[in-house]
């Protein structure tokens, strides 16, 4: 029987720990600086500097989030369990009236709270700029973008906690985190495109859009491409999936699955 009181005790400790060591502040600053720079200088390659359309700004921020958020979430969570094990505090925690599931959920929720707060604080500045320039309507689109970005962070945090349970030590856990960042952010789309081009589109063309659901970064990309007309024309790979994955509920469910499944697997593997 899971006791919420135990989960909230662990979550509160974890959250406080991240606030106290200024992790939240540091990540919020990183987001604030990068998002502001991209908002004003995102069009520099096209020879224009300054705030452009809402769609263009969000499209630029999508790229930032896809690189930055998975990395930060993986770095935040990779030692959640293995770190306690290596320090020797895991035995002390598990000798308390606390189940492994409660510890795992408490850890995850505490870290998730810290990550969400840092992202919201960091991205709020750009939100203010967009509302001032494009009116309150901008908040609807930008709010959707921020929500999906937070969900992306939670998905990668869930993966990080799974790695933290599976790895024997912190070094291996950090290695796993780096490899998974490369895989999901850089390699996955290339592999899919390679397979598609290599077979001349003869095999797997129908399932190709669905394969994008196997990568939370692509789910995030499609979610944001779907919401804005102008942005649909910018992204290549994700654009293909639009006709098939046009339902935001399917994408939302896929993102939630990416949050729940790794955590469930971590809970299953987190045994004595």
């Amino acid at each position: 029987m899971i006791e919420m009181r135990q989960i909230s005790a662990v979550a509160a400790k974890e959250f406080r720990d991240r606030l106290r060591n200024r992790w939240v502040l540091a990540v919020a600053l990183v987001f604030a600086v990068f998002s502001l720079v991209i908002t004003y200088a995102g069009g520099a390659q096209q020879g224009a500097v300054g705030l452009r359309s809402l769609e263009f700004t969000i499209a630029s921020l999508v790229s930032l989030v896809i690189y930055l958020v998975p990395l930060i979430a993986l770095l935040l969570g990779f030692d959640a369990i293995v770190g306690e094990r290596e320090r020797g505090s895991l035995d002390l925690l598990l000798a308390l009236p606390l189940t492994r599931t409660e510890l795992l959920l408490g850890k995850y929720l505490g870290l998730a709270g810290a990550l969400a707060l840092a992202m919201l604080a960091g991205l709020a500045l750009v939100g203010g700029v967009l509302v001032r320039n494009f009116g309150a309507d901008a908040l609807y689109h930008y709010g959707g973008f921020v929500l999906s970005a937070v969900l992306l962070g939670l998905a990668f945090l869930s993966l990080a906690v799974l790695m933290s349970v599976l790895a024997r030590d912190r070094t291996r856990a950090s290695g796993l985190a780096i490899v998974s960042w490369f895989f999901f952010v850089l390699v996955f789309d290339l592999l899919l495109l390679g397979a598609l081009v290599g077979t001349g589109g003869r095999y797997g063309g129908e399932i190709f859009p669905y394969l994008l659901l196997l990568n939370p970064a692509d789910v995030f990309r499609i979610l944001n491409v779907f919401s804005l007309d102008e942005v649909r024309n910018i992204h290549g790979v994700a654009g293909i999936a639009l006709q098939v994955l046009g339902d935001v509920r399917v994408l939302g469910a896929a993102m939630l699955a990416w949050i729940v499944a790794p955590l469930a697997l971590a809970n299953w593997r987190f045994k004595p």
Binding site: V10, K13, D17, S89, D91, L92, A95, L96, P97, L98
Partner: protein, 316 residues
Amino acid sequence: MRADASMLGAAISLRGVSKRFGAVLAVDDVDLDIRRGEVFGLIGHNGAGKSTLFRMMLGLLPPSAGTLHVAGVPVSGGDARAVRRAIGYLPENVALWDNLTGLETLHFFARLKAVPAGECAPALAKVGLEAAARRPVREYSKGMRQRLGFAQALLGRPQVLFLDEPTTGLDPQAIRAFWDTLSTLRDQGVTMVLSSHILAELQHRVDRLAVLVAGRLQALGSVEQLREERGLPLTVSLRLAEGDVRAAEQALTAADACGAVAVERTAEGLRVRCPHSTKVAVLQALAPLGSRLLDVQIAEPSLEDLFFGSPERWTR
């Protein structure tokens, strides 16, 4: 599953407990009852299986075979939360969270143990950390962390305390305070299981102890029982004037029946080793020396002698 009749009065009961890690048998068929209110020592060389047995008793590791009960509740397959509410645990290396203060750390443990937050400040005072309560743990010395770890173990008035190398890092004053606290807890009927490498500390403070060798329970009993069982000689140290040493040697040799097993010269006189049963005979043999015998000191074999003196004694 409830405790059977043989466990009544036992705070901890182990029946046929074994633990295997692959090909390695870390704990081998251990039967053990630790009585309520008993202070129990667990000793053994590194790799003897102490930590594995400790972790199984805490429910951190399931046994490969056998059953364990703590406070009458089965540790595996039973109500693990009920077991953990009844125990306090101080690990050998207390690892806490550097960014929390001492008081916040105790508040965290208190929440998990469902103990009122108001008990935290007195617990800190009990281990002498009241002045450091609002300092972050990263500023604590090793001894202060150990004391903070002890304070969390005491939260919730546990029935059974597991203390793994509890005096590690403590200064002499803190060690004394620690043993005083344990003495008070013993009077309150708290059962305590201690492991320590500082055997001299244990020998006057445990009611009974168990010696583990290669995962097997090789000896069990009070220090006195183990001394008797092992038949280790006691040591009689004699202080003599230089000219009287030979006379003392001759007196001991003449009284062959005194049973001295070894006589050796020291800077101060002689050191005689003899079985416990012939202690009086040795003293009688020395009686003719009268006032020429300047001083006599008799030392029982220590826990170190029992444990380290002759490892082969611990093999069956």
